[in-house]
């Protein structure tokens, strides 16, 4: 008897067929970086990653119907994160002194470290929005769905966060 039968089931995104293993490999770092914009506890991040990808595995059938795997997985991760934060009763922000920020294998370049430091002055939600827009290339509407916020809120938060960050970066550079 095969106790792990559907782990290698195929899921379909457009015309691309992917196994769960491929989805895991392709998206684990994306979800990790999204979560660490808001969380500092590496164990908590690991927990959420595990729960997220377990849920992804369990919902392979649903995934066939989704247009964007990336925003679908991030939605699951975001919900898991919100649940955990609600249970903990507080938002955990990245530790300014922790330059490694969790169980990462690559060191951050010095220039990026400065930006990271400035980013940490922003609220976690704003960091996730900027990261979603500029790095993950998510649309406002996709981010609104992931974060369960109105699109207008995402837009204005992005605008003011970016403006604030621009000022801090200018001050820091000066």
């Amino acid at each position: 008897m095969n106790l792990f039968p559907s782990f290698y089931d195929y899921i379909v995104e457009g015309l691309i067929k992917m196994t769960f293993e491929e989805v895991y490999k392709d998206y684990i770092d994306i979800v990790y970086n999204y979560l660490r914009q808001r969380l500092r506890d590496s164990y908590l991040i690991e927990d959420i990653l595990q729960e997220t990808f377990y849920a992804v595995y369990r919902s392979l059938q649903d995934l066939k119907k989704k247009d964007s795997i990336k925003s679908w997985i991030l939605s699951i991760a975001h919900n898991k994160m919100v649940d955990k934060l609600r249970k903990e009763g507080k938002e955990t922000l990245p530790d300014l002194t922790d330059k490694g920020i969790g169980p990462a294998s690559n060191p951050m370049p010095e220039e990026a470290l400065f930006l990271e430091e400035m980013l940490q002055k922003l609220p976690g939600e704003d960091r996730q929005i900027l990261y979603g827009l500029y790095v993950l290339q998510l649309k406002y509407s996709e981010l609104a769905e992931i974060m369960q916020l109105p699109e207008g809120t995402i837009k204005s938060k992005a605008y003011y966060a970016r403006k604030q960050l621009r000022e801090w970066l200018k001050e820091g550079a000066g």
Binding site: F4, G102, A104
Partner: protein, 108 residues
């Protein structure tokens, strides 16, 4: 108008411009120095933000993957009809003994 320009820049970064928007962007880039500076600024910011990306340690990735596998196996095991398995197991243990007297009887 200002909002439209910011949207245009974000859409460009996301590679999500329509043909019409691409032409608008091209036009603005040629004619408006302020827009050109903002575009450059935002592209640089996107690049720098990408530089803050971290790669999760392979050991952690493997651990999470294994944990998921264990969870799945456990769940699948729980779905197996344990009662049936136990009955079959017990029966298979006793089968030869039960059959032995029957065989002797049949031999006679």
């Amino acid at each position: 108008m200002k909002d439209d320009r910011e949207d245009l820049i974000i859409k460009y970064i996301q590679d999500d411009l329509t043909v019409e928007e691409k032409m608008d962007l091209f036009d603005l880039t040629l004619k408006d120095e302020g827009f050109r500076t903002r575009l450059k600024e935002e592209l640089e910011f996107a690049g720098k933000l990408k530089g803050t990306n971290l790669i999760l340690d392979q050991k952690v990735k493997d651990r999470i993957y294994q944990e998921i596998r264990i969870k799945v196996v456990k769940e699948n095991l729980a779905q197996v009809d344990i009662g049936n398995l136990v009955t079959e197991g017990i029966l298979s243990l006793f089968k030869p003994r039960l059959n032995l007297p029957l065989f002797k009887l049949l031999k006679k």
